[in-house]
Symmetry: C2
Subunit: 372 residues, 2 copies
């Protein structure tokens, strides 16, 4: 269902920013305004007036049914959406010389598509829609928290499955297959990032995925899960060892756990994103791992698995203040030590009434047999 | 393993084009040159000299092991890859005024990342690497065909699972869960696009995905699978009805099947991409569906699920000629009729010795009980 209040909020902010319309090209903002996902998500929200769905002619009946409202314009030809958008833009210009059109500048907006749009629309100045959307998306309402809670439960089911599946001799991909399947069966709608099963030498990766590598006794195994429920994400990461961890592995795990705990304690309204880093880095340093600290331990999460504030992508975001209603993770970067591997623990929190309420719930234990 | 021949071929073409280096930011070209995937894939291939992997400091050991060669430079700091790349660019400039750096301009290259790179590197002119890479990627070698064959087998296993799973009362998502799991268990490395299970009114979508919609008797169900094996894709799409199809559904299916068959017959070296459309559209028109024809029935496939030639994305590609060594699909767009729904059949072919050899093999039957 179309969310009239969110559309009005966005329109008010567009008028303040002098933006004539928001051209939606990505799933997250499409879901945010229209309550359902589409492939491809294409819509135009003018600063004033009705939103307009740009779609394929064969989809019109279905769009009308799913939006559940009459007052939406639907515009679409047979497979020529770029031309359709150009035509809408021409209709909007009126007596203006140029239109100021907002577009999301994030991972889902490819450079070539923006170039094509710009070439096809010389009457348009493209601007970043972030000043309109960041503020709206950053503070979650109750309905969003409910969806993220469900995503967090699904992540927990995925991690439980991982714990049951992990054994010496299995491949990372086989573990990922079971985890993905369990999360799907639990009602999840796919994953926002590939399931990480980074084991042994691969545990030191900053990012990751599952591979055909066989898991061996003594491997550090980093498992990172970001399932989606109705578009919304939760992030849960744990690190395990099969068998007995080495003293070094145990020390790294204890360091990470203390750093994450310190970060969570600092996660309060008024603190800045960088303050979470400061306390976590202090723990690394005190334990002799300061040189391995990767900045950006916390980021926002919601319809995007990493959304503003996201200091590892936009360093300036580290100055953004924590506020009630935000949802953030703590534990984003790996503690990676050449020759040993990597450790990570990540959880998702809802800032509510001044405290960080965990959405993800799963024990933090290095030794797998303590859990199984 | 690093592929020296492919790197040399690319370097020769870069020199012809006056491009100083190719900055790799996407999985497909990273796999093409280095034989393995990485998250994140970041490398620089200069027009002359050794390729350079830009990575996180904690990953260096693992990169060296996986590439299997000594003569590669590895460059990386703790989580500051943009700064690392800037430093490499500065080192390359020598006495030149500007560097001409190629970047892939496709779905995997976000606009904001390119803008950040451009701002951080005022000494660089960014150009599209397509004139270097398209020609190399378009013609597959035997090792690539072997991987696509494996992906095609995995797609067949997925479709078999769909046929066994489909029944009245099940949701699209439940079907997708079983299909994804079966493809993973068969050795697949994830999927290039979400598994489409578009049923009933949703079958008319131009694109698609699975949803929580319950499948009903008499629904048209479009199933589109694009599994990956070691990065390589194969595309298999079928349409089914549970129970007895209506006369209209049967007519649409017969029309699509004839159009696809005509397209496959036209798929020969020397033909242009648009010739495949011409014969397929003729079949639609003869059967009274001309107005519903969506142009772009054929596109190339490989490390990308849709790569050059891809006429629905770049209309100019419809003039590209079919040649031996290409891998293309036939059956890309849906035949969508408002009030009835949609039908699609898509298969993947290898053009070899003048003929189109099917890589995907699965019966084309509308009535599900004829298969189960």
């Amino acid at each position: 269902m179309l969310n009239t209040k969110r559309i009005q909020n966005a329109q008010n902010r567009m008028k303040q920013q002098g933006i004539d319309a928001y051209l939606i090209l990505t799933h997250d903002d499409y879901i945010y305004f229209f309550g359902e996902d589409r492939y491809q998500p294409r819509a135009i929200i003018p600063a004033e007036g009705l939103p307009l769905i740009v779609t394929f002619a064969g989809e019109e009946d279905e769009v009308r049914e799913s939006l559940g409202v009459e007052d939406v314009r639907i515009f679409g030809s047979v497979g020529q959406q770029i031309k359709d958008v150009v035509q809408v833009m021409r209709g909007m210009i009126g007596k203006k010389e140029k239109l100021k059109i907002g577009v999301q500048m994030w991972f889902g907006t490819p450079a070539f598509l923006l170039n094509m749009f710009q070439r096809a629309n010389p009457i348009v100045d493209v601007v970043d829609i972030a000043p309109v959307m960041d503020e709206l998306r950053m503070i979650k309402d109750d309905s969003e928290i409910a969806l993220m809670q469900r995503a967090a439960e699904i992540a927990g089911i995925g991690m439980e499955t991982a714990v049951k599946t992990l054994r010496t001799g299995i491949t990372e991909n086989e573990v990922a297959a079971e985890v993905e399947y369990a999360m799907r069966k639990a009602g999840g709608h796919g994953i926002a990032t590939p399931v990480f099963v980074n084991s042994g030498i691969r545990s030191g990766w900053l990012h990751g995925t599952a591979s055909d590598k066989i898991i061996e006794d003594g491997d550090l195994i980093v498992l990172d899960l970001v399932p989606r429920y109705k578009g919304y994400c939760a992030n849960l990461c744990r690190t395990f060892v099969i068998g007995n961890p080495s003293a070094k592995q145990a020390e790294m795990f204890a360091t990470y756990k203390s750093a994450q705990t310190a970060g969570i304690e600092a996660l309060k309204p008024g603190a800045k994103m960088r303050d979470i880093d400061t306390v976590a880095k202090k723990v690394y340093t005190e334990n002799g791992y300061g040189e391995f600290y990767v900045a950006g331990i916390s980021h926002s999460i919601g319809l995007g698995f990493e959304e503003t504030p996201a200091p590892t992508i936009h360093p300036g975001d580290s100055g953004i203040q924590i506020r009630d209603g935000m949802t953030v993770t703590v534990g984003h970067p790996v503690l990676s030590v050449p020759g040993t591997g990597g450790v990570r623990l990540e959880d998702t929190f809802h800032i509510s009434d001044g405290t960080a309420e965990p959405l993800t719930v799963f024990p933090s234990e290095l030794v797998l047999s303590n859990l199984a």
